[in-house]
């Protein structure tokens, strides 16, 4: 209180006051519990995990060589493990891309007010309540060999024998779309609602058609949001695990990285290899995220004049 009226930054000010000028005061103590949780449950285990990856089991060292780096050697050399990177990407990238691209027109149309909008939005939130496990169970019954889809197609004479929709790549893809699309849609809608509608009205007044309005007004403003949504949807699809096991072909075409990590952790009890796969998963994801965000800054700068 005595410091009131002093000029900020004067040498005569007390240390406490000078710290407060820079934003450091007792209020920051409120951060402490949060930081303790983050460090104890995230930073420490994560560093511990990194340490584990360079302490491979004797069996691993013997089989793959490479000394302390045996786990990494195994990761890149063992086709059974390394192929899972490609198998994961083959699922996660198209799923994320589809979810984002399909959300844009739907969100554009649902932007207007109309009757039943709330019902429709609620319907789109529904899959969040289903969770991956029930989605998997439902897909197995609904899209299985004797499910309603195949039954209908057979009755209509569109197919001669049941389509194979589950227990393969397609099944996992369907489940990723059902769980991921609402997520992408809700995010894109929130970004779209942040765009000032008067901008589009102004463009319309100046004679722009709907494609020009979309291409010149909405898309540039939406681009950062699209990139963020893609990243978040990709993260969601990338760590797919229950559905890859339940509606996929767990040892074949949907042998994703998280399955391999769980296998090493739970079935082989090789914690060091499990940590290695888990970390490589994070690394692969990081590469994609950085690439997309880099692309975003390129796109963003190109269309709005260097703000990105």
């Amino acid at each position: 209180m005595s410091a009131v009226g002093q000029r900020p930054g004067r040498a005569t000010a007390s240390l406490r006051h000078r710290l407060a000028e820079r934003g450091i005061d007792p209020t920051l103590l409120l951060l402490v519990p949060g930081l303790v949780v983050a460090v104890a449950l995230f930073v420490y285990p994560f560093s511990y995990g990194i340490g584990l990856t360079v302490q491979p089991t004797a069996a691993m060292q013997e089989q793959w060589g490479g000394g302390a780096l045996a786990n990494y050697v195994a990761f890149f050399r063992d086709p059974f493990v390394f192929d899972s990177v490609w198998l994961t990407m083959r699922l996660a990238l198209p799923a994320a891309l589809f979810n984002v691209l399909a959300s844009v027109p739907v969100a554009m149309v649902l932007r207007h007010r109309f009757r039943g909008k709330r019902l429709l939005t609620s319907l789109l939130v529904l899959p969040i309540t289903l969770g991956t496990v029930l989605t998997a169970q439902g897909l197995l019954i609904f899209a299985g060999r004797q499910g309603w889809i195949n039954r209908t197609l057979l009755e209509l004479g569109l197919v001669d024998e049941p389509l194979k929709l589950v227990n393969n790549y397609l099944g996992v893809m369907l489940s990723l779309i059902i769980t991921g699309f609402p997520f992408a849609f809700l995010l894109i809608s929130s970004y779209l609602s942040g765009i000032d509608p008067s901008l589009e009205q102004a463009a319309k007044t100046l004679g722009a058609g709907w494609w020009q309005r979309f291409r010149r007004i909405v898309l540039p403003l939406l681009a950062p949001g699209l990139a963020t949504t893609f990243v978040l949807t990709f993260v969601l699809a990338f760590s797919v695990f229950p559905s890859a096991r339940l509606v996929g072909d767990a040892m074949g075409e949907t042998r994703v990285m998280s399955l391999m990590a769980f296998r090493a952790f739970g079935e082989q009890n090789d914690y060091t290899m499990a940590s290695t796969i888990a970390l490589m998963m994070g690394a692969v994801e990081l590469i994609v995220v950085v690439a997309v965000l880099g692309l975003r800054s390129l796109l963003y700068r190109g269309t709005t004049g260097g703000k990105g």
Partner: protein, 284 residues
């Protein structure tokens, strides 16, 4: 009349029809999945026919006994409530500090809270589970609560920070001018203003915790399985898994619980808020 003028341009464009066709396909799949599971859970026998050859509720009784669902549901609710309480108590003060103060290293702190949200759960989950097992906490309730805090605390911080930022700090200053002490500022001024935000964040954490599979699955065991994990274990049990109808019954119980929570949640929050929490933090 106002509605018809709004709807006419919608119906006119072929692109709109395309969107509606896609939405219909999505809706058919969604409802098909849901209805199929519900029908299956009430069915007696269901093989090569349109509908089961009889309906019964005994699957629920059987599933309840077979999987000890009383305990599982108790664990699920208990874990979820504990996680919500702890993450609100830890997260809201941190969000307040982040919203109100600008200090050196703030970006680093924000990044630290953003990382668990952006990283695949498996990446930090496996090292975390290894640590839990090495501390002898494996398969305990404590471990389940602790791992669930990792995404929940940052989630509360990330949702609450923009919420607190939009509360005018002049209100707090005015209260102080009128002689309120720090404690009074918190209880009389901030708490009432924060209640809607806290409620929204709490419900979202509740829904996410009940639905979280990967992290819980890594550290839980008999006696500390939540409902999702129990369903998964039922589906993948050795020897081809349990009877399908039992799993369906369990899934219906799970979805009914989630649906009830979500209906409550939607009374307090906008659906877009369910997932849009990261948007605000991106801009800092």
């Amino acid at each position: 009349m106002a509605a018809s003028t709004l709807e006419r341009p919608l119906a006119a464009r072929p692109s709109t029809w395309f969107v509606w066709a896609g939405m219909t396909a999505f809706g058919v799949f969604l409802l098909g999945i849901l209805v199929a599971v519900v029908v299956d859970s009430f069915g007696r026998q269901w093989f090569d026919t349109w509908l089961p050859d009889g309906f019964t509720t005994e699957r629920y009784v059987a599933a309840w006994d077979r999987f000890d669902l009383g305990e599982v549901v108790g664990v699920t609710v208990g874990v979820a409530v504990l996680v919500v309480v702890i993450s609100v108590l830890v997260g809201v003060p941190a969000a307040y500090a982040l919203a109100r103060r600008d200090f050196p290293g703030k970006r680093a702190v924000m990044l630290l809270f953003l990382l668990p949200v952006l990283m695949p759960p498996v990446t930090y989950g496996i090292p975390l589970a290894t640590v839990m097992y090495s501390f002898g906490l494996g398969r305990t309730l404590t471990a389940v609560v602790l791992v669930n805090l990792v995404p929940s605390v940052p989630f509360v911080i990330l949702t609450m920070t923009p919420f607190i930022e939009q509360i005018n700090p002049a209100i707090e200053s005015a209260a102080r001018m009128c002689g309120a002490r720090t404690r009074q500022v918190f209880t009389r001024i901030l708490a009432p203003l924060l209640v809607p935000g806290i409620l929204a964040a709490a419900i979202l954490v509740l829904v996410r915790t009940v639905g979280l599979f990967e992290l819980t699955f890594l550290v839980s065991g008999p006696g500390s399985d939540t409902l999702v994990v129990a369903i998964y274990r039922g589906m993948t049990a050795a020897g081809g898994g349990e009877a399908r109808q039992l799993i369906s019954a369990m899934s219906v119980i799970y979805t009914a619980t989630m649906l009830a929570m979500l209906v409550v949640a939607l009374r307090f929050v906008n659906p877009t808020q369910l997932v849009a929490q990261v948007k605000e933090t991106r801009d800092d």
